[in-house]
Amino acid sequence: MFAYIVRRLAYAVPILVGVNLVTFVLFFVVNSPDDMARMQLGAKRVTPEAIAKWKAERGYDKPLVWNAEAPGLEKLTRTIFFEKSVRLFVFDFGFSEDRRDIGREIAARMWPSLALAVPVFLVGLAVCVSFALLLAFFRATYLDFWGVVLCVAMMSISTLFYIIGGQYVFSKLWRLVPISGYAEGPDALKFLVLPVAIGVVAGIGASTRWYRTIFLEEMGREYVRTARAKGLAESAVLFGHVLRNALIPILTGVVAVIPLLFLGSLLMESFFGIPGLGSYTIDAIQAQDFAVVRAMVFVGSVLYIVGLILTDLSYTLVDPRIRFD
């Protein structure tokens, strides 16, 4: 078990290196720092001096990977690659366009993101699993049929409409909750109710349908027939046998997502004005703040890999076949 975790962690390193190379190529090879400077400065103010100043302020005035002028080891370290990409490994993200420490910003904005993402995740999981169980229990009836139709209809609606519609009806028309904003502490509740509800509703369609297929697949297995042959009631079969098995793919699929909750939700946060990492990312994209985008790419990859490892671990916890292997 220990060896297994160590191996998975070791496997993460080449992946992060790969992510790093991809972002480096995207940000510095496809485009030169000059292009970025031009873009940031805007068409009017582009003079060679302005570009040089912009680059110097941000540390882009170095060669990409090999600094022939620098002495010794600094030939490697005093380069854009080392300073901008390799430093990410120690979570040194540098500064954003408005000269703020990106690392500190991320640490601060993580909490509002979690305050929104965690309830959406937990409530959504509970709602979707129960809904799917209901459909599976009443399989091949009208309830099941219309339930699935509803799911397909719900997953055909863009999240944008859920948000815009929800804001309009609950905040503007009925004035139940503030339209957007955020506050620390318990005050956050009134700001979070609507986004959480919308987040849950927007996810119902796709998840319920997926869980339902898993349940139905399990219900077709032979051990279910054995359980019925024992004289167990249908509910006992469903909860005692099917649920246990179906939870294996559901849980492991879900566990991979947990670390990514830190990243928050792009749309939800930007629409509701929640100062989390999601709106941070969107703002950075819209302001073309490459340093922040680069940092978020790296953080996202790290979290994804953590999710992979957690998935493997969760398998060993819920599936005895793997636990004892």
Binding site: T226, A229, L232
Partner: protein, 672 residues
Amino acid sequence: MNAPTLAIERLATRLDTVQGEVRAVDGVDLELRRGECVALVGESGCGKSMTALSVLRLLPETGRIAEGRVLLEGTDLLALPEAAMRAVRGRRIAMIFQEPSAALNPVLAVGRQILEVIRRHTPLRGRAARARALELLAQVGVPDPARRMDEFPFQLSGGLKQRVMIAAALAAEPEVLLADEPTTALDVTIQAQILELLARLQAERGLAVMLVTHDLGIVAQMAQRVAVMYAGQIVEAASREQFLRAPQHPYSRKLFDALPGAEKRAAALAVIPGQVPPLTGEFRGCRFAERCDEAIERCRWVAPRMVALADGHLVRCLVREEKGPAAAVGEPTLLEARGEPQAAASAPLLEVRDLKVHFPIRRGVLRRTVGWVRAVDGISLDIRAGRTLALVGESGCGKTTAGKAILRLLPLSGGTVRFDGADLATLGRERLRRLRRAMQIVFQDPYGSLNPRLRVGDILAEGMRALGVGASDAERERRIAALLEQVGLPAEAAARYPHEFSGGQRQRIAIARALAVEPRLVVCDEPTSALDVSVQAQILNLLRELQARLGLAYLFITHNIAVVEYLAHEVAVMYLGRIVEQGSAEEVLGAPKHPYTEALLAAVPRIAGRRERVRLAGELPSPVDPPVGCHFHPRCPQARAECRERWPAPVRLSPTRTVNCVLYRSSAASNI
């Protein structure tokens, strides 16, 4: 005779399929009495499992019971509300299934799966319930039940899992046990253990058992009464003795004739032409008439009723009704004498020496190899042209791996494979490709062995094209037509797709594919084990005929002893990666010397002449960590101290026969 515990009357079950409504069970009458085992026999698709499932009302969702009654001591189960029916399931009628690894819930400890029944149907709770479960496990012969209670199904072997299934089924002391092919998924030595257990429990508890099976040997060993099913109906019902002495329905008689065995070596096996008719339509006459060689004109127009012959033997056949009972079966009818090819003294076509196939087990951070699965651990054998060597053993003994390694479909870990003088083990890729023309393989699964997206003609042409057989497309096309004719398929088959053919026909196509490149050696990897007996007979006949005509050598890999007896010239018995005994078929099968061979042969359920049983305890150990010394010694009834020390050297008992067992070391010299 006491009143029946369970009486099935005019049961009709329908299944909805894409082809339309299938009359899977169509008017079945059957009675089960206390302490009696009734065998429901038939080939796949005849409706025997559906009958059993209908009794418990556990049909798949597309199925429904259209008609009939199922009386359990007078109560019609089909009229019960679902809640009352649940009180019957498990409590009064229990069922065990074919595949124990699928029938047990993989994520629940086996103890819980037994306790579940105890809690549902008995007042026992807590410690008392657990004690009862332990007792049950002990009764079904699970060693160390206290430990096993908390283990999960995947930790148990197939035989143990089936024992657990039986324990769960019997936990609430039902009166009736429905056993649906309970040993089909098990090895023959394990099958013998389970059958013995079932027979014991039946006798002890006075159970009424309905045993659904396709194996006439099991019928002969277990049943008191027999019912034969064909196309959704029971066509014959009789006591075991009556049935075995003189089966009356032409279908039943054909089934017996189609069984391979040593006594039929001289002739081709009887076959049933055609296929089971589709059960979607109405039948006017006898359902078997199209395939029956005794059929008279009336059979096609008049549906036969079940009639009792003089001794209470029931049969659904107009011919018997008119002409009276058929004679007892005596000697098998010789259809056509078969000239045994001469035991050629020529040099062997294939010489395998000390072949090893080991798979690495990787563990730890760096995936270092920490051990080896010794799937094949040094086997040697010779095959001559025109001869059949049967490689026999139970699942997991490495026989399939050996077959594939000989063809270099798997990498070898050691040893030499000389084919016609060339050592395959060291041959380069290009030379190997050229040699592939001479060696081909036929697989077990007729469904997985043909690419569903290619026409039969393309399947046959592929190898020819790859290996450069036939100069032009036109020539290859002629050859394809000839091949199809050779394996008994019409020439139009070339333009069709595999799914349009039945299992037996697909196996013919697979054989034709192998023959397309004119091989001299064909490895047959369990080619008939997925087929019904009547179809198996066709394929065995075909293989023998091809051998006689083309002088092919076969390496025939199988676990089916009857097939070996019928087909093989030489036999090699494998156990845990090694050959324990080999020799001519007459020698090995007629007078087995190795204790394992003896036990293996004894475990095969026979129709006639029960042998003195040598029951093997335990199961095949893992090839990761084989027992030190003779691999067989932990299960060997005659093991001695020296068996634990080293693998016994082969002892030559006759010019053609060797055995690896210490029992024969001293006597060997004097015997020869």
